[in-house]
């Protein structure tokens, strides 16, 4: 049973997607329960797998019993096992929190939404665990295609921006496929473990010894950067995530960019090995420059936004810069920061997007609607404060520790522009979130201010200061949010353990 855990983490989602699609005519009412059950089963298997891997070490699972290089292997090492648990946990939280939202946002198409949701999660989990470079491409497309479909439902612009995302996303995945073709010509293998050995033989002194391998690395990077929305390739990202319905945004925003950053890390540590991946100074300098630009661009565009979700989208862009920059600082601290930030940012984004979806439902997502937020929705607002403080990088929260590693990596590498951008972006985040907190604490609730102005009767019954009126969301929406918010602190307090058990276990020991 325990040997089958890697496939058990993914299989329930596929069966669930099938059952939901098949059951849409028969047992419509049971579909939500079936889908939640599939997600819960997958989460349980992932957590058990993570516990098993962290205590007993890496496990390799041959899909269908075919050993590589003929078959496809699933590699569960500490990094991928923990990432699986995070991805499935995030999906489960989003799904449980947005039951009502799904039913109103996707009328008559609930079953289709459940099936696509499960497929998207299965795709992302497959990307995380697969040990085969071509299988990775297929799973990227599985995850992305279901993502396009669920993001398309929303406000009027959603369809067009989702189509735009489809064009750019397919382009990115195709570029990855092209780069993998170069690697295949040179190595004759698609298994990641095989690839790293052959690359080390072909280019012992670094990739500059082989033009084809250097080109392969460059093209793969370009494809991954397009997929994760790094600065010059970012224009697809804010549209679909800010126009789509809230549950789709809360699923895609935390997963897509983080899972693609995970693929980048996987390419660096498992396929090319850090020595080879960092052996081209031109690429390192260029990528670091792009990452710095992404951080600054994301932060300043976020300042210009007037609605909560749009602002979060641009913060997402600058976080991509954090992760990519850290991976190309060329030292252990930087890469540690990147890996830790993938987990931390997944939690922070999830927390903020779940809170934002509550806020949008309760008061409306524009800053001007959010007056009196703390009075009206105390729990949601508290979770948002925790997510915001973590984004800013306040110590007990996990956001602080990833910034700490990234900063120390940047200073070790002597890359002061990147370090400066990190600090500046933290300051801008502070401005962004404290602006919201100010509106939430001191602003007048929009719909309470107007009746008291128009009708003297109402003003008489509700004299200033306003009485406590709480219309918080139901507990079903708040419980997942509280769990995520609490995990921000837990993750922060467990930083040492995470770095020791997960990051140090996957980084090569000689890395400086």
């Amino acid at each position: 049973m325990t040997a089958q855990l890697p496939i058990l983490a993914i299989a329930p989602l596929l069966f669930g997607a099938f059952a939901v699609t098949a059951g849409r005519f028969l047992f419509r009412r049971a579909n939500y329960a079936v889908a939640s059950l599939a997600l819960a089963a997958s989460f349980t298997a992932s957590v058990l797998l993570a516990i098993q891997i962290l205590t007993q070490g890496t496990a390799i699972y041959f899909v269908g019993g075919w050993p590589p290089p003929i078959g496809i292997s699933y590699v569960a090492d500490p990094l991928s096992a923990l990432m699986l648990a995070f991805v499935s946990g995030a999906a489960l939280c989003t799904f449980l929190a947005s039951k009502a939202e799904i039913e109103t946002s996707y009328p008559l198409k609930n079953s289709a939404f459940y099936a696509l949701f499960l497929l998207a999660v299965a795709g992302h989990m497959g990307i995380v665990i697969t040990g085969d470079a071509f299988n990775l491409y297929v799973l990227i497309e599985v995850a992305a295609l279901s993502g396009y479909a669920i993001l398309a439902q929303g406000r009027e612009r959603a369809m067009l921006s989702s189509l735009n995302y489809l064009f750019v996303g397919s382009l990115g995945a195709s570029l990855y496929l092209l780069g993998m073709g170069y690697l295949y010509i040179m190595t004759g293998s698609l298994n990641m473990a095989d690839l790293s050995g052959i690359i080390a033989q072909l280019a012992p002194g670094g990739l500059s010894g082989s033009t084809a391998l250097a080109a392969a690395w460059g093209v793969i990077l370009a494809g991954l950067f397009v997929k994760m929305g790094l600065f010059p390739f970012h224009s697809w990202l804010p549209g679909p995530i800010s126009f789509s319905a809230a549950p789709a945004a809360a699923l895609v925003a935390p997963l897509t960019t983080k899972v693609m950053a995970y693929v980048l890390v996987r390419m660096i540590i498992s396929v090319f090995t850090p020595d080879a991946a960092w052996s081209l100074p031109a690429i390192n300098t260029l990528v670091l420059l792009l990452a710095t630009a992404a951080i600054l661009y994301g932060s300043f565009c976020a300042l210009a936004q007037r609605s909560l979700r749009k602002m979060l989208c641009f913060i997402l862009l600058s976080e991509v810069g954090y992760m990519v920059g850290g991976a190309f600082l060329g030292n252990r601290a930087g890469l540690t920061g990147t890996i830790y930030h993938i987990f931390a940012d997944l939690l922070m984004t999830l927390c903020l997007f779940l809170a934002a979806s509550n806020v949008e439902r309760g008061t409306g997502g524009r800053f001007s609607d959010m007056g009196g937020l703390f009075r009206r929705m105390p729990v949601t607002a508290a979770a948002m404060v925790m997510g915001g403080l973590s984004m800013i990088g306040v110590p007990p929260f996990c956001g602080f520790f990833s910034k700490w590693y990234l900063l120390s990596g940047a200073i070790t590498a002597g890359s002061y522009a990147f370090a400066g951008a990190l600090v500046l972006s933290s300051l801008v985040n502070a401005v962004l979130f404290f602006r919201i907190f100010e509106i939430g604490f001191f602003g007048t609730p929009a719909d309470r201010a107007s009746p008291s102005a128009t009708s003297g009767e109402a003003a008489h019954r509700h004299p200033e200061p306003l009485p406590f009126f709480c219309d918080e969301m139901p507990a079903a929406r708040l419980a997942p949010l509280c769990v995520v918010a609490a995990s921000l602190v837990a993750m922060g307090l467990l930083t040492g353990e995470v770095v020791r058990l997960v990051v140090s276990a996957v980084l090569p020991p000689g890395l400086g």
């Binding site: 009027e156 064009f167 092209l178 073709g181």
Partner: protein, 127 residues
Amino acid sequence: MPELFAEFGNKFHYYSYFAIMMIGLYAMIAKTNLLKKCIGLGIFQTAIMLFYVSIGAKTGAGIPIIDPAVGTADPAAYANPLPQVLMLTAIVVSVATLGVALALIQNIHRDHGTIEEDEILQRLRGK
């Protein structure tokens, strides 16, 4: 000059796939008609498939089914089947992508009455 011809002749499939790929990319960037963008994406993906299929080919090699007369001793007697198998999967993926794209375009046409991107953007701005 002869070297240049030799270079081009030996690697013409790389040059041609690159040219086809750029045609596709051009269509995706420059065309405002959403269907033409779709076609551009198709050309782009097909170029990569051609590239993969071309790297599996060998001069004088037969189909990759073990022939009792030739045996398994000489791998050069068989074409490499793996790139073609990979591309079968990639074709399935690109068909699925095209399907999703066409469904989205159909919905956009229903909502806006046009599939010209600039006209749609104008309408959205006008609202």
